[in-house]
Symmetry: C2
Amino acid sequence: MKWDELEEEPCSMARTIGVIGDRWTLLILRECFLRTRRFEGFQSALGITRHLLAERLKKLVRQGVLRRIPYQESPKRHEYILTQKGLDLYPIMMALVHWGDTHMVDERGRPLLHEHRKCGKMFDPVMVCSECGEPLSAKEVHVHPGPGARPAPERVLLDKKAKPKPRRKAA
Amino acid sequence: MKWDELEEEPCSMARTIGVIGDRWTLLILRECFLRTRRFEGFQSALGITRHLLAERLKKLVRQGVLRRIPYQESPKRHEYILTQKGLDLYPIMMALVHWGDTHMVDERGRPLLHEHRKCGKMFDPVMVCSECGEPLSAKEVHVHPGPGARPAPERVLLDKKAKPKPRRKAA
DNA sequence: ATTTGACAGTTCAATTTTAGAACTATACAA
DNA sequence: TTGTATAGTTCTAAAATTGAACTGTCAAAT
């Protein structure tokens, strides 16, 4: 698969993956949320090759996730800062962190704690339903084709089921 | 960087990325949540090469995200199903979908709608603070080193700031 | 009895990506 | 004049991915 095809798929998840779904991009975004803004900053924080960093930044700018803003003339220098579209990635970042906090910590505990300014407490992010406010879990959610779903004859991505048709003598 | 080093970093996000942070893995997980369970199912749904699919499934099993369960003897066949650790990835999936729904839809609208069984409404996922229940945004959150943070002399991942030290004549 | 098809992989050559390191260019500061 | 900081670009070697074919087991159809 060519990865730019992902953005054409009738699946919001695939499209998102097309934009931010690779390791370096995700790490670059982590740095963005930690207020890294400059080429050298990203490079030294991540140890990414300069070549790839240049590519990824270019792509994020093209996608409207980052904006490239001059902070000095002669020599021209730019900073990369998150747009609103980029800031909206925050729930994804937090979800990634939280899963790591839950399933990937060693005996010493979490590397980082998060404090919510509004209430002053250390918190975990919780994903809830916008309508009733209850926490969400996979089995309580059903999907329906939306207006942008692919029309009938073709396969509707994100809406097919591999029915476990058991054959022959079961184990 | 070798990608297995990611899991050693004192950063929950990096560790998570080490497990699920590549395109194919993310797409495989999407299929899992859509109840695909078998090798051929994944392969035909995604068009991934069989070689890579076998590798990725193996890794997800090794990481405890999927469990490989026999569903038939002779010939031995297995299904890949999400463990609890895997099911806990749901907020990440929903966050990815929601960002795509917000920023990557075309004029036709969303490919999919989500219904919350409990309340019966179509919903969006919202990430809130576990302590006060308010929706979260990047700027209302402060990070602090936790017990598993890297000790002083070395760089604490996820806790450095590239202070925009302005030099020379600004633009 | 033989062929066909489903399933779950494995193997291998060709292509694409990434890593690692060095190099370019501009301009300030000592 | 030399050194440093910044933001890249260029190059070759190494690693990952693709595409396609191949393996092996068994059930069902001919």
